[in-house]
């Protein structure tokens, strides 16, 4: 018997979900779904807020468990009396802002100079693997690549450089943090490029450039004047996230940053782990300072935006057509970008070569003896961290994808509009420095007796995976033509059926890619594992970072290479799976409409 036709207004905004005739609250179809945003928020923001509170209170002296019963500024005084502090703060601000400016300039420069050329299309394919590789792996590979006794030196010595022994140059872990900046730029530029590409799709960039060029503007100038101001509001939040990350990164700073003094975040980590427990107050104050630094830097950048906007406005309509040095600029920027990508690839290659090297002394360009023994010896030791990485990553990515799909579906069913404020809330975990709230979160977990448990670990990863999954899934989901859903509803399908049978198959590729992105983010997390894992869980990233401080590059190569491979495999699977599924689907005469690409 055919089900009765449901009214098209089943999803009327403001009212309940479809089937409002049924009694019962939570059990109403759509009722459970409406708890999803609430669940997401509570999983998400409340612990961050609790973590912040748990870190700020000790900063002002309130930590009864440690004897801190009164509010006061002694922790702050101790903080500012610490001898390493001025250097650490200067280093943090300098490297963070420089890395962000360089990444932004490179991303924008590349778009401006090379859009529409073949290298641009090629870049889109290369971006996904670049982004999948964790920060720590790139940092470790880079540390080997550019060190005075590193690969580049080995390739060029002694025939080109005359160095019989490695020169006494501080290249890695240099006191100005330049190697740290380079390591950050290697990863941030692809991310900003990806965000820019996404934004380009929404502003008819090609047409705008065509119009501007028809008006006589050179291609790069046309892009800079016509397109960049349009996409900038959309890449603003990712830029702030990049800025916040560069200012508060720990794992990359541990590998590439200087040690005396280190940037602020690793210094705070050192203080948090000090057996002298009174250092915790000072560390909490430092975490507060870190948050203030990030907020100040973001405010500075926002002010800079406004200033630059005002200065640049007359230039936009002044009629200067450019075109003069553009082909040179294109070649230079294209070369620099290719160099960056080549460097990232070499970083990975270096890890791979070390993992199968037996003996590799300076100045040999390649190992003198090769072996598979490194992998054989460490397969057992690798098993447990690899398993943890895999299971936590899959769980966090799956949960995040489910929550995001629930939120997006809820939004569409109840006709809610995505708000800018919602986007800021989403970015909160990415903007608040990890070290500033993870300590409070850890205290919370210990209180609840949950630290060192697997759910706590997954939750701590979920916190950072969720924004990325949301960002990568929101646009394709919202862009899916709603007429498909409406047609299906009018054919008598319930909203749930529409979701599972119409929307999801059409969006299979974006969903899988979002899942892979979430997995990649989880693999690369360092501090959350340390804090929430309670010392009981080790992932490939934590192992690789602590091994990177060791000497056996062969072992580091094994761990870091495996750490880099896992997300790449996830991406490959995400891209190959829809095609494979499609081939398996039997061809029927009356083909259902769920096989198209949709918004992929």
């Amino acid at each position: 018997m055919a089900p009765p036709l449901r009214p098209v207004t089943a999803g009327h905004p403001g009212r309940g979900g479809a089937g409002a005739l049924r009694a019962g609250g939570l059990l109403r179809p759509g009722g459970l779904l409406r708890y999803v945003p609430a669940l997401t928020l509570s999983l998400f923001l409340a612990p961050i807020a609790a973590g912040l509170v748990g870190t700020w209170l000790p900063a002002f002296g309130w930590l009864p468990a440690l004897g801190g019963q009164s509010f006061g500024l002694s922790a702050w005084r101790a903080l500012f009396a610490a001898p390493e502090l001025p250097g650490a703060v200067a280093l943090t601000l300098g490297t963070g802002i420089l890395a962000t400016v360089l990444s932004f300039a490179l991303a924008v420069g590349f778009c401006a100079a090379c859009h529409g050329t073949r290298s641009f299309a090629w870049l889109r394919h290369v971006l996904a693997p670049l982004l999948a590789v964790p920060h720590a792996a790139v940092a470790i590979g880079l540390a080997f690549l550019i060190a005075p006794s590193g690969w580049i030196a080995r390739l060029l010595s002694p025939w080109a450089t005359g160095w019989e022994t490695p020169p006494d140059l501080a290249v890695v872990r240099d006191p100005y943090g330049l190697s740290l900046v380079l390591g950050l730029v290697l990863k941030e530029t692809p991310y900003l490029l990806l965000m820019s590409l996404g934004a380009l799709g929404q502003v008819q960039a090609e047409r705008a450039v065509a119009v501007a060029r028809a008006l006589g503007y050179g291609p790069a100038t046309a892009w800079l004047k016509a397109v960049l101001p349009q996409i900038y509001p959309q890449i603003r939040l990712p830029l702030y996230a990049v800025l916040a990350f560069s200012l508060s990164v720990v794992d990359v700073a541990l590998v590439l940053g200087p040690g005396t003094p280190p940037p602020l975040a690793p210094l705070l980590l050192r203080w948090f782990n000090d057996p002298d427990l009174t250092m915790r107050f000072q560390a909490a104050a430092g975490a507060g300072l870190q948050l203030v630094l990030v907020a100040a830097a973001v405010a500075l950048w926002a002010g800079g935006e406004r200033l630059v906007g005002r200065l640049v406005r007359p230039w936009l309509s002044s009629g200067g057509r450019g075109g003069a040095g553009e082909s040179l600029a294109r070649r230079v920027i294209g070369g620099v970008t290719a160099g960056l990508i080549g460097a990232a690839a070499l970083c990975l290659a270096g890890l791979a070569v070390w993992s199968v090297a037996d003996r590799w002394r300076y100045p040999d360009p390649l190992p003198t003896t090769w072996t598979l023994g490194n992998w054989q010896r460490h397969v057992e030791a690798l098993a447990w961290p690899a398993w943890t990485t895999l299971t936590v990553g899959l769980a966090a990515a799956a949960l995040a994808t489910a929550l995001v799909l629930g939120c997006l579906e809820n939004e569409q069913r109840h006709g809610l509009r995505p708000s800018a404020r919602g986007l800021w809330l989403l970015y909160a975990p990415l903007m608040v420095p990890q070290v500033s709230f993870l300590f409070g979160a850890q205290v919370l977990l210990v209180r609840l007796g949950l630290d060192g448990t697997w759910p706590a670990l997954v939750w701590s990863h979920l916190l950072f995976v969720l924004p990325y999954v949301f960002l990568s899934l929101a646009d394709p989901y919202r862009a899916l033509d709603e007429r498909y859903a409406r047609t299906a509803l009018c054919l008598g399908a319930s909203p749930a059926r529409v979701f599972w049978r119409v929307k999801l198959p059409m969006l299979l590729r974006p969903v899988l890619v979002a899942f892979a992105i979430g997995f990649a983010v989880s693999v690369s997390l360092y501090l959350p594992t340390l804090f929430a894992g309670g010392g009981r869980y080790a992932t490939l990233t934590t192992e690789a970072v602590s091994l990177a401080a060791g000497a056996d590059r062969r072992v580091v190569g094994v761990y870091a290479f495996l750490q880099a491979m896992l997300p790449l495999l996830a991406f490959a699977a995400a891209l190959a799976l829809p095609a494979a599924l499609r081939r398996r689907r039997p061809r029927r005469a009356m083909r259902r409409g769920s096989g198209s690409e949709g918004a992929g």
């Binding site: 047409r207 065509a210 291609p219 004047k225 406005r313 309509s317 002044s318 200067g320």
Partner: protein, 246 residues
């Protein structure tokens, strides 16, 4: 202002193995509006893209294009002095109306004051005086279309390409705007190619019509402008349609 013509010499388009447009030769006289019609996907917009210089690399094109006496085949779009109008007005949302117009002004007009005066004069002439500081999003569809047209004309193009610029306007506005465009075209003696689906546009243009399609077995009305195989794609040039008696 030009007195030159827009000349296409054996312009041909392929997409992969498929021949979209066999070699087409056409001369658009100064002040003439030649209409290009045909079914969707037959390559009309791609032809315009080739003329303008922004053809997607997936296509392969051959043939030469002349603007006046200058061979522009192979020049980058910014040097061809061919203006283009699309369906969407594509006014830059981050600039005011006045700044959008100033964007089109040649760099030769240097001083800020001169530029502002030119912009104000243009706006006044078009009946949009005082709109210089407005945000384009606050303008109506018809006003935006007019500003887009003015912006393009301010850059002093030597030829004009119109890619269905009237199709997003509602019918009442369409006729009026169309007339404005054609008036400007005639006044400045610009050779113009108009791509459209609407036969009323072709009539109002009053120029020849290039009809893309497949070659009919016999079409007594005109001679083909393309050399093509029977049954293959072909563009047929018909003379200007007679104005209907209303």
């Amino acid at each position: 202002m030009s007195g030159g013509a827009l000349r296409l010499c054996k312009v041909s388009l392929r997409l992969g193995p498929r021949l979209l447009l066999p070699p087409l030769s056409l001369t658009v006289r100064a002040g003439e509006v030649v209409t290009v019609t045909g079914p969707s996907g037959c390559g009309k917009s791609s032809l315009l893209a080739y003329l303008c210089g922004t053809l997607d690399p997936a296509f392969r094109a051959s043939g030469r294009v002349f603007v006046g006496a200058v061979d522009v085949t192979g020049l980058p779009p910014e040097r061809r002095r061919i203006g283009i109008l699309f369906q969407d007005d594509l006014l830059f949302p981050h600039l005011t109306v006045g700044e959008n117009l100033a964007f089109g002004l040649p760099a030769a007009v240097r001083r800020g004051r001169d530029r502002r005066e030119r912009v104000e004069a243009t706006l006044a002439e078009a009946g949009l005086a005082g709109f210089a500081h407005r945000d384009p999003a606050t303008l109506s569809g018809g006003q935006r279309a007019r500003v887009a047209l003015l912006r393009m004309l301010l850059s002093e193009p030597a030829a004009l390409l119109l890619d269905e610029p009237f199709s997003k306007l509602d019918p009442a506005l369409r006729a009026k705007f169309r007339q404005t465009v054609f008036d400007h075209v005639r006044r400045r003696a610009l050779p113009t190619l108009l791509v459209t689906h609407d036969p009323a546009d072709a009539e109002a243009a009053g120029g020849r019509v290039v009809a893309f399609g497949h070659a009919p077995a016999d079409d007594p009305a005109a001679g083909p402008a393309t050399e093509g195989k029977a049954g293959g794609p072909v563009a047929v040039i018909r003379p200007a349609p007679l104005p209907r008696r209303s």
